[in-house]
Each structure stands twice: as C-alpha cells, then as structure tokens.
C-alpha cells in the first residue's frame, strides 16, 4: 500500500489518530492507551501485516516524551511511523515485546535511557548502563553528569 491507501486504512482502524505531514513515511500520532490494540491490528490484520519493527526509540521534548515506533512489512514493503506522547511525570505505555520480540531489548534501552515505564514488560531492567543507574536517564535533556560527561 502506498501512503495514501495506508492513511485511509488506518483512519478506519483508528479514527482518533492524528496524521503528521513530512518525511518519507506516514506518521500517525495516537494516545498511549490506544497503542496496544492498534499494534495488534497492525501486526495481525492481513491487509497491513506490519511484521518487522526496525526501530523503536524515544524523544525528549522537555515538556513531554514521544515514543517513536518504525514499522515495516516484509510482505508488502510499506512503512509506518507510530508516535505516542507520554507525560513526563508518569511515562507509562504498554509493552509490545510479545508482538515484536525485538521490542524487548529496545524497550529496555528506552527504559534506562529515558525512564519510560513499559507496562507488562517481561523483564524491565537495565541493559546497557551499570547497576545503580536506576532513576537517572542519560538521554533526557536535563541529565547532567559533571564527572563523566565531556562538554563539546
């Protein structure tokens, strides 16, 4: 499906989704609570078949966090970017590690780097950072470490 067809299909799936212009791919912004049912449909509906998650990351916009999921289909070769804005005080979103297994590691990385809490994640602990870093999230914009960080 091209972007236009994808847009029509997704509007029927998720009427509350907001589409963003720009970039090569269709961007859809949704409420965090809509993410899990929407993800299941994207993965399992034959017409969409987004079986490959090639990127999962987070952006710190100072006022809020934005989760960014890049999905593609090995069958139809179409791509989709899904975003969800999270409250910085309580950044909770459902895990999708049981839908796309690659998300398990990527979510652990986002958890330690941004402090996003992935609800129902099977094994949410530090992956890259050493023990004792819980609560400090290096990729947040307000993170500061005068000892280990070299300012460029």
């Amino acid at each position: 499906m091209n972007n236009e067809e994808l847009k029509t299909a997704i509007t029927t799936l998720l009427p509350t989704g907001v589409f963003e212009e720009g970039g090569d791919w269709l961007n859809v912004l949704l409420e965090p609570s809509d993410w899990l049912p929407f993800a299941l449909q994207l993965r399992h509906q034959e017409a969409h078949y987004f079986d490959y998650m090639f990127c999962l990351t987070c952006i710190d916009w100072k006022t809020h966090l934005t989760m960014v999921y890049h999905l593609s289909s090995t069958k139809y070769r179409h791509n989709l970017v899904v975003k969800a804005n999270l409250d910085k005080a309580k950044p909770d979103i459902e895990t999708v590690s049981h839908i796309w297994r690659t998300a398990e590691f990527h979510e652990r990385e986002v958890y330690e780097m941004f402090g996003v809490n992935f609800v129902h994640h099977p094994d949410l602990r530090l992956l890259i950072l050493p023990d004792g870093w819980e609560g400090k999230n290096p990729l947040r914009k307000d993170f500061d470490d005068p000892v280990n960080m070299i300012k460029l």
Partner: protein
C-alpha cells in the same frame, strides 16, 4: 552481579562468558544458565564499551557527527559514513556528482568484503582452526592498503562527507583494485577447500542455531542472519540508495536458517560484491568528487530516516532536527543489537559448545551493539 554466579535453586549452573573472552570478539558479557551441557538461557549484559554516541551527537554538527559513526561498526565504517552523508544530503537536497557516487559504492563493497574476510577468519578460529585467520588477513590487508592510500586510514575512514567524498582517488586505485580482484578469485577456491567443504566444519554448523523466518523477523534480525532464513531483506535491493538500483547483482538467500546457512550467505555475498566492483572499476566517470555545499550545514526542521545495508545488516539513522546546526535527537539502529537479541532464542536447548558457532555466524561487533 556476584550473586548471580554459582547455581540457582533448580540446581542449574550459571556461568559467565566474557566480558573478556576470545569467543565474544570484544567486551560482550553473557550470563548462561546451564543444565548439564544444555543451555537453558543466555542473557547478554551490554554496555562495557558504551560511549553514548547518541548523546554525543546532539552536540556535534552535521559535519562532525560522521567521525563518531566510524567508531561504532568499525568494520563497516565506510558504510556508516555513507548513511550519515545520505541523510544530510536527503535533508538538504544536495546532488552528489556521479564520480563520487561510483567511488562510494566501490568503497562500500570493498568494505563489505574486508568485513566478511575478517568474520570468516575469526569464525574459523572460534571453531578451532587457526590457519584460515592468516589467509583471511592476507586478503584483508590488500583492501586495507587500498583504503589507506585513498582515505588515509585503515579502519576509521571518515571518507564520505555530505556532498560526496573527501578527496579524489589515489592514482593507483584502479590498478590495485584489479590486482585485488585477481588475488581474490584465486584465493576464494582455497577458502572453500579449507573451510566450506570441510566435513568437520559442516557438522559443527549444520542444524546449529536454527531460527525460523517468522522468529527472525520478529526479533528484528537483518542482513545475513535474516537472509539465511530465506527472507529477502537486502536494503540495497528493496529500498535502493545511491547507484544500487542501476547495478546488477543478486541478493543471496539461503533457507535453512542455521549457522551454515548464514555462513554460506556471507561467502556468496563476497562474490556478489566482487561482481559489483568489476562492473564499476572501469567505469568511474570523470568530474568532481564533492558537490558545493554551504560551510554550515543546517537540516530543516523535521524528522529524517536513512537505512543502508552494512556487512552485518540494516543500519539506520533517525534524526530529529529543530532546524539548527546539530541534531536535536539522533538514534542509530544498529544491526548487531537486534541480531544479538535473537541469540537467547537460538541457543536454548542446544549444547554449550555450539554457542560459539552461533555467535560466530551472527558476526557481532560489540561497539556497534553498545554504541
């Protein structure tokens, strides 16, 4: 981590492989739960070489950030640099001169061969053969010499820049590459005699570390790991960049999904890279090697994504720009990170001795995983 050592309540043995272990090819730490000789669980502990390149890039300009990406997947540094150059060119709509495009593809493919050579030697050494390592390094040295003459570096090239390449080719480039092709064609038969056709190697690799196509896709595997399962995923073919849609080459696919399939994909991929180089080496157009660009590069406000095929798989760069001279947020999607996440799934139920054969054919480069 100390309390994890020893054994758990079920009587399983818990051992550490790494962070300093010859089979992990770098500072990778695996905590393995064993029942007798059977693996029950493999848990990677990462971060021993984590430099927070993503955070670092937030304070680097679009000309500077290329230099740190060479330090991620240091065996594919040209290809990493290529991705950086492409994303800036895409954002700023810079036209790359034809000569630079050809040079870039040539360098990418030479890098791919060099990387696969090193993998081949190291993997054979993991499985107990020392000789192939020296053979592999002899051929790799020929490529490194070519690189050194043109780029001035042997490992961290930093040769591709937004708009083209840094310098023109060395006058000896074409002659040396042709010499290398002759050498390679003579030697690749030796590789097959020594390792590929060797029954001991085949027994150690066939049926080991099997992963199904559906699982490999779900784990986000890419490159030879996914192509070994018969899934077409070569970025050069499915989302072509640079000249790859105008060049003739085949995407290498195997269907078994085991270590031997991944091995064969890489061996056959080297031949395809030679095929690409042969098509281009006599057809390098004359002209500039770098487009005229502004002194200060500014990406427009928005989000950009560029993916390329490195020797290990799909490498992606995601940039969020606020319109300034440096990225607001940058994310590197490294192929090794996702490939490693599938190791636990592959290894469960197999013997500890086979773990080395699995890791060897995943071709892990740790700085690429940790970033």
């Amino acid at each position: 981590m100390v309390e994890e050592l020893g054994s758990n309540t079920e009587g399983d043995l818990i051992i550490n492989v790494g962070p300093q272990h010859p089979a992990t090819h770098g500072v990778l730490h695996l905590v393995i739960t064993l029942n007798g000789e059977t693996i029950k669980k493999v848990e990677p502990h990462l971060g021993y070489i984590h430099r927070s390149i993503e955070k670092m890039c937030e304070s680097l300009t679009y000309r500077q950030f290329i230099y740190v990406t060479s330090r991620m997947d240091y065996l594919s540094s040209h290809i990493n640099n290529h991705a950086c150059a492409l994303i800036v060119e895409k954002g700023m709509q810079i036209e790359v001169p034809p000569r630079a495009q050809v040079i870039r593809v040539l360098m990418d493919e030479l890098t791919r061969i060099a990387s696969h050579e090193l993998w081949w030697g190291a993997m054979a050494m993991d499985l107990g053969a020392f000789t192939p390592f020296f053979h592999a390094f002899r051929e790799r040295e020929a490529i490194n010499e070519i690189m050194e003459e043109t780029c001035g570096a042997r490992l961290t090239m930093n040769y591709m820049v937004p708009g083209g390449v840094l310098e023109d080719l060395h006058p000896d480039f074409q002659r040396k590459v042709k010499e290398f092709i002759t050498l390679y064609k003579r030697k690749i038969a030796e590789y097959d005699d020594m390792v590929t056709g060797n029954i001991i190697f085949q027994n150690r690799m066939k049926g080991v570390g099997v992963i199904s196509a559906a699982d490999a896709i779900s784990y986000g595997c890419s490159g030879p790991t996914l192509r070994g399962c018969g899934v077409s995923c070569d970025i050069r073919k499915i989302y072509p960049y640079e000249l790859y849609d105008k060049i003739e080459f085949d995407e290498v696919l195997e269907t078994a999904g085991d270590s031997f399939a991944r091995y064969m994909v890489r061996i056959r991929e080297m031949n395809q890279s030679i095929r690409i180089i042969e098509q281009l080496i006599d057809n390098i157009p004359e002209g500039d090697v770098q487009a005229k660009t502004k002194a200060v590069l500014k990406l427009p406000k928005g989000e950009f994504y560029q993916r390329v095929e490195t020797a290990r798989g799909e490498f992606g760069i995601f940039i969020v720009s606020e319109g300034g001279t440096n990225p607001y947020r940058i994310k590197f999607r490294s192929p090794g990170f996702s490939n490693l996440s599938a190791l636990d799934h592959m290894a469960r139920g197999s013997k500890i001795g086979d773990l080395v054969a699995m890791m060897g054919t995943l071709d892990l480069v740790i700085p690429d995983i940790d970033r």
